[in-house]
Symmetry: C2
């Protein structure tokens, strides 16, 4: 891994890769064609990009049940326990409606309502991600979303991965479509003959999925624009080099562009972790992915003390942060920007990917500066409530009218004044 | 106003106007040039689009103090009271950090952190909107955002409107820049020599501002893509036609494209409101704006009963909704989609625009289906917290590793397993 000893974090600027205009243009064309031709376009693109000739877009219920025969029982049990943990954590996030009565009997408040419909995109291709089903859909279900739809590209055998179907069934999702890429996003946003449109699209995907989400944003809601996975491990001399190395590698194996960073106050630890990474890497089945991530993206950043180390972390604003230090709680208040924070030596990042309960769909590319992990809040909205009274209008109507007139909005002023001076509801 | 008696709501499809490719392209060029040339580009565009030759981009503190001489004392008082009400309401929205201890001593939770920096865009041009300063900036200040920046185009006299400067001063904002349009959004997103970039850009603006916000989205956060203002008044026979008409007109005077809709169960009320709108319209100073809105966009929709009326409102998903009915609380549970809901005869919509406390930056164009008014939540983010224990890893590590291996991520499985079987922190 590359060492940085002079505090130069300019490598962070390379994180944001601008999409080529050609990619933008093909995504525009895919979206336009799906809007025009609906199901036919979806099937044509699935043949072209996934090499699969689809009969039906919707996965029949029998196929979901049949998927259970292909998933080991211990994995089904793990999916079930993970779903329960994820549900329990997200239940804690549910916001409540409230009202309060203020001066002159005025009632103010906000009403929280779940979205009507949500589409969860689950990436496919070479791997199968049942965990993404749980992380995308469970918060929507906890929020009370009435219609939660899944969409995922078919594998070469012409079916969505078994684990994805099992995870969907475990949490009660029945509306599942086989399609991927920009065409799947367009179908969710604008609908086809088979797929009714949704109000919000969530879930990670490749560059085309991300570009499509950005283009449909505004016509529907989206969660965020996901980039390659990231981890920063802030470690002191008490950290366990073998474990830290394994955690860095667990991010590296996601993608050649994934960013594993060790930030440490201990040169001795840094050296040991560096050696451990080299030692563990070749044995990993995905070493051809993890290798380039470690060698071309991965960094070891030396910090003078924990305070400086925390500020380096804030500048990285990593998706995942491990505080592999003797007293993680003492550094936590210094951390402003990190999507998910793992405290202490036993909080290995994969614990959060699968099992602990908090969401694994987390802001990347430094967007933890301003964004949050997916959560129940992503699937509800607030409506403001205002109940004004005649008494409050008598007391404040003139101020409101003065303000409106100053902004040049006479109609606003008159709407308020018409209700003043003892006017009654019935003429 | 056009009457709709057959339940045909196809007029809603006309709300979303696709921006012309030419406009998109000029916004791309403006953003690129501001990124390349910084302050110089900003000044050039300000000369070109606003007809103003700027000396400094930043408004000097003396200009802010001097603005007070041009704003009537009663308006200053109204601004002050409004700011207090807005602050009080938004204080109620502040989310809290929390942790909980679950099985095996595992601690889970979330940490709420304000954004570091926010830019509030305040539209300018022919009018002056101090209310938008308050609505954009106060929630950010309540959230605890360290740096809140204002940007607004200069008027023909070469200065930002006095009311905007007074409102900014009242709430303690000192960093104010003179620029508007797409170039202002680009400057906030990417920075110039004078303007440091921000993490999030909020506030309404014209089509160019909206297109620029969509283009920079992903590099920074934005609030929403604002369209023309909307009001739906759901009224029964007990509503006051003169007041309902005035409220419809108050939205109509914003913009020729604003959408005022009356949804009513009473044909007699509909007729009276229609007449009242015609009677009041010519006397409004902005009748040349309100007229086209009423005539080409405005609608009167007849509903068979309050339940149907509520469903019509949900399909409109209006920015503002008035429940001008005898028992508004009885209909409120049926309303799923509306940005701000005004209950009862005295809750005129302008009360919310200026004074009551809830935000007036509210989702438009039907996006109340999935989005919320601007609020404190818009200016904070959550970080998940996970503190796992050795005991929890012994209990759950195998399930986590099984799950990871099933997804083909051996490195994830090993990171967990290395910590099991009595391994200690220090080797």
């Amino acid at each position: 891994m590359e060492w940085i000893e002079n505090g130069d974090l300019s490598f962070l600027k390379k994180r944001k890769v601008e999409a080529k205009e050609a990619a933008q243009q093909s995504v525009r064309e895919i979206i336009a064609r799906v809007r025009d031709e609906g199901d036919k376009a979806l099937k044509d693109y699935t043949k072209q990009f996934d090499g699969v000739e689809l009969g039906e877009l919707r996965v029949p219920n029998e196929a979901i049940a049949a998927a259970y025969r292909h998933v080991p029982e211990k994995v089904i049990q793990a999916i079930r326990q993970a779903a329960e943990n994820i549900r329990a954590f997200h239940e804690k996030q549910k916001p409540s409606s409230w009202t309060e009565t203020v001066e002159h009997g005025v009632v103010l408040g906000q009403k929280v309502t779940p979205l009507d419909s949500v589409g969860v995109y689950v990436p496919g291709g070479t791997a199968s991600y049942p965990s993404s089903v749980l992380m995308g859909a469970v918060p929507a279900l906890v929020a009370g979303v009435g219609r939660v739809v899944l969409i995922s590209p078919p594998q070469k055998n012409g079916l969505i991965a078994y684990g994805v179907l099992v995870a969907a069934h475990e949490i009660g999702i029945k509306e599942i479509y086989q399609a991927g890429g920009a065409q799947a996003i367009a179908a969710l946003a604008y609908g086809t003959e088979t797929i009714r449109p949704v109000d919000k699209i969530v879930g990670p995907g490749n560059l085309y999925v991300m570009l499509a989400k950005k283009q449909v944003f505004g016509d529907v809601a989206i969660d965020s624009l996901a980039g390659p996975s990231e981890i920063a491990v802030l470690a002191d001399e008490t950290a366990h080099p073998e474990w830290v190395a394994a955690d860095l590698l667990s991010q590296a194996e996601h993608d050649k562009m994934s960013m594993p960073v060790l930030v440490t106050t201990s040169r001795s630890l840094a050296e040991k972790v560096d050696q451990e990474v080299e030692r563990q890497l070749p044995a990993l089945p995905r070493h051809e992915i993890a290798g380039p991530s470690i060698e071309t993206v991965g960094k070891i950043v030396l910090a003078a003390n924990l305070k400086d180390a925390a500020e380096i972390v804030n500048q990285i604003a990593p998706e995942h942060l491990e505080l592999a230090i003797a007293d993680p709680e003492s550094v936590l208040p210094l951390i402003r920007h990190a999507g998910a924070i793992f405290l202490g030596m036993y909080s290995s990042e994969p614990v959060g990917d699968y099992f602990a309960g908090p969401n694994h769909i987390i802001p990347t590319n430094g967007s933890a500066r301003y964004a949050s992990p997916l959560g129940v809040e992503s699937f509800v909205k607030r409506s403001s409530l205002i109940r004004y009274t005649d008494e409050a209008l008598e007391a404040n109507g003139s101020a409101i009218a003065d303000f409106a007139r100053f902004e040049g909005l006479e109609g606003h002023a008159q709407a308020v004044e018409k209700r003043m001076k003892g006017a009654t509801v019935h003429e």
